[in-house]
Assembly symmetry: C2
Homo-oligomer: 191 residues x 2
């Protein structure tokens, strides 16, 4: 057997990483030539690892999702209150928005750029967004919100709005997100 475990997984990983980086910075319209060059991989290798550019984008987005969630969401077995756990998410967003290369939530951007909701990458993006909505609703529920579904939708409104505004450089979110979310949680009666 040829080292089944431990694997370096290099060529595929480099492609996925390059796809993640370049499509975020330049949009989903980046050429596969640029992708391959950035990854140091030949087009030949690309097309024997993936069926198409679309699939590469989708897999790249999907592979990055767990890390994104792990970074955005609080640990599962957290002892903090739902309120604090929800605010944690927005704190992460706000801190990320300070980065010089921040361009907003990549999953939202992908859905906007690829107008077609049936595009594989768009489907993956929608799934990630749905997961975040689910987190909000679960916490809203746990915190005894008056209308957990409504609160979850409101939080997503703020999340995507903040992400988009900061992503296009229209706002830096400083002193904006926390009070807004706080007000929402108060109004929802989140204990």
């Amino acid at each position: 057997m040829t080292m089944t475990t431990e694997a370096k997984a290099s060529t595929r990983e480099r492609l996925l990483e390059a796809a993640a980086t370049l499509t975020y910075r330049e949009g989903t319209g980046v050429g596969i030539q640029a992708l391959c060059q950035a990854a140091g991989v030949s087009k030949r290798s690309l097309y024997q690892l993936f069926d198409s550019k679309d699939e590469l984008l989708a897999v790249s987005l999907e592979r990055g999702a767990p890390a994104y969630k792990a970074w955005l969401l609080p640990p599962a077995g957290d002892d903090r209150s739902p309120r604090e756990r929800i605010l944690h998410v927005f704190g992460q967003l706000e801190s990320q928005s300070a980065a010089p290369d921040f361009q907003g939530c990549r999953y939202l951007a992908v859905q906007i750029e690829l107008k077609d909701p049936t595009h594989p990458a768009s489907r993956v993006a929608r799934g990630v967004k749905d997961d975040l909505t689910g987190f909000f609703r679960a916490e809203a529920d746990r915190g005894g919100a008056r209308d957990p579904d409504l609160l979850a939708r409101q939080l997503m409104l703020i999340f995507d709005g903040a992400s988009a505004r900061a992503g296009v450089g229209a706002d830096d979110l400083a002193g904006l997100v926390s009070p807004t979310v706080g007000g929402l949680l108060d109004a929802a009666g989140l204990r």
Copy 2:
């Protein structure tokens, strides 16, 4: 004189209209071939009316801005309260979001698609967004909000968030926007 008034303005107008329609539906990446075909105009005419595709996009966006504002904002000499005037904007957004071909705010989409903020079309889009922010701030001020600047930023958060969420089909905004904005206005002490 060759009919200075009354003008049919056909060729240029058709191009601007086609640009508005197609870039909204398909994104800023549409080819000029498709643009010309939709407008029933030759590429030659395009390039003697505009310097480049980028300029065409920018002019198209700019030409549509007054109509957009007229539709979105309440009449200038309105006798309604600031609160009602602000809610009018969100009512318009919500009603627009029901349309089957709604894809979110085109000015936000343009900024996200063209990552480059110096792109002429991106500059135009930013200007329109700034105008809306200015409207919110003016109304917040007039209504005696505790912190008019903060309220304006919050309202833009909601506006862009709602536009993006509805645009990608993640939410239909029904029963979501009005209570959320209402809560914000209450919290800001808008009389």
